[in-house]
Symmetry: C2
Subunit: 336 residues, 2 copies
């Protein structure tokens, strides 16, 4: 990659902008690499490209897909994505793993995970970027979405990977959120993070095939009971549970029908665009806060002092409020 | 109050420390007023008092009490608090209302709300402080807890009031969290904030009396079903639902028995102290972040620029990341 990075210093911004507008996959990949780079001069170039490609009203739908380990996310995305491509859609698959410091999913890995989809000319698959500065994975994924949409991908599938706060991060960057589960709500819900059951717009009980079909139908009923008690994430929309089999390709078109009705409903009452505007505002503020922390917690003297401070407040030697004030004064006095 | 504020400038720190150690209610009230003051010289004095009274290992139990509007929080605390006082405990009742800018609950108001308890010599009732600087209500309540414990109150009841993030704030400052509900889980849960069902260590279906008894028993079963699916907040502890009637004083001693077993269980496996240490650490970091935001968002030039920036990122004129960077650079350049 370092070879490419050196070479692309001379490539003008217009090359990327025009290439993406013409849906050139190679140029799209190069632009995403710029977005994902942690180098300062790449950041500036990437922002120029993004600003030229920002759409006032994007025509895409952004779908987040999460699920318990083993729920068959890859197989589901392979089936679902292929189905969408065959209907004439152009589908981009992005992965988000906020816990990854180095890129875990390689392109080869993702291509093996989604064999059929990766061969489809209408599909574009991009693995999870690694962290780094200025908003990390969160920013990189959002900006990659913008580039993919500008290249004509009208359906963006964002998959959460790894452990951590991935679900909450992705929920706030998509229009529709799908939770993939398996049989047995009781056991499964115990392993999920708090509050996750209140995020999805649809719960899909996967692997409803063969011997498992009956168990899956039972799990669907259990999930519907729980969902009945919880508040829907999207105002006025009733989150339901359905069964599907990615392997036997059953229930896949029904999932799309539900997403389609959701889109119609939220566009009719303007919730769709209101939510997108809110997401933009949230993203700005998240980024501001995140970077403010980063300045603070990476400050050499703060770092050193903080270890001592934690110890004294836990042992009850010093009050929390006066300790915090001392640290903040230290930070404000110093030039960053 | 301003008269008192002027006068107490000359009262030495030792007066407060010794008075509180002697459980002098008047001095305790004066010290809490210092803690609640937003004046800088009061803050410094308050911190000196707190540091002198910090206990290495507090013997108190801190119980958070929340509930849907109309669930009968005041009546429950009146009954429960009086029961605890009659058993020889000394009970302090604090209210937390993060949404209040000015103090909403007056002392008279709280005394009327909890008539029996407010007359008991073992009880001390303090209304919610108003916001203000450096950690606001959150800090003031935590510090008031420290003062009350130093004055010999061994049970601290922290009541959440108003709307907002009160439940989450209080959950992180108490050992045990109790959710008060009414009949009909289905309707009620729809009105609760997301994730709240995963906070309590005990759910109490209140008003289980007269005609309502049967409905309350049904609601208890419903809540136990939901709780079965959700993850307990406290590791290894199974959160259950029980019925109680504050009016007929039924189920009140059972609630205390459950809290008592909880305390035994968590002290035996050290979770009790580990959680308190974690809460101290969280408090420090929350305070740091909160104040860092406050510096940033109250900066005159940032304020002005932010309104414009929000507009341009929502309309798609400028990228979020470069907008955020511009604002941060503006902040870092300026001396605060």
């Amino acid at each position: 990659m370092s070879k490419f990075v050196k070479k692309n210093r001379d490539i003008p911004v217009e090359h990327y902008i025009n290439g993406i507008k013409k849906a050139d996959r190679v140029v799209l990949a190069q632009a995403i690499t710029l977005v994902e780079s942690n180098a300062k001069h790449h950041f500036e170039k990437a922002q120029q490209i993004i600003e030229a490609l920002l759409q006032k009203k994007s025509k895409s739908i952004r779908i987040g897909i999460t699920g318990v380990p083993g729920a068959g996310k890859s197989t589901f995305i392979d089936s679902f994505g292929t189905f969408l491509c065959e209907q004439g859609n152009r589908v981009a698959v992005l992965a988000v793993d906020p816990s990854s410091q180095v890129s875990k999913g390689s392109i080869m890995g993702d291509k093996t995970r989604m064999e059929r989809l990766s061969r489809h000319p209408n599909a574009y698959i991009r693995p999870s970027p690694s962290g780094g500065n200025l908003g990390g994975v969160n920013r990189k994924t959002r900006e990659t979405m913008i580039l993919c949409e500008a290249a004509g991908y009208n359906i963006i599938l964002v998959e959460t990977m790894g452990v951590g706060q991935g679900e909450f991060v992705v929920r706030d960057m998509v229009d529709f959120f799908l939770l993939l589960v398996l049989t047995g709500a009781g056991d499964e819900l115990q392993t999920m993070k708090k509050g996750i059951m209140e995020l999805p717009d649809l719960v899909v009980v996967n692997k409803a095939d063969g011997d498992n079909k009956e168990k899956a139908t039972h799990a669907k009923r259990e999930y519907n009971t729980i969902l009945h008690y919880l508040k829907s994430y999207t105002e006025g929309w009733i989150t339901k549970a359905v069964t599907a089999s990615a392997k036997e390709e059953e229930g896949i078109s029904e999932v799309w029908d539900i997403i389609h009705s959701f889109q119609e409903y939220t566009k009719k009452n303007h919730l769709f665009y209101e939510k997108r505007a809110e997401q933009q505002r949230n993203w700005l503020h998240d980024l501001l806060k995140q970077e403010l922390y980063r300045y603070f917690y990476n400050h050499a003297e703060i770092k050193e002092q903080l270890i001592k401070t934690e110890r004294t407040v836990i042992s009850g030697e010093k009050s929390v409020a006066s300790s915090a004030l001392d640290l903040l004064n230290l930070f404000m006095e110093k030039k960053i």
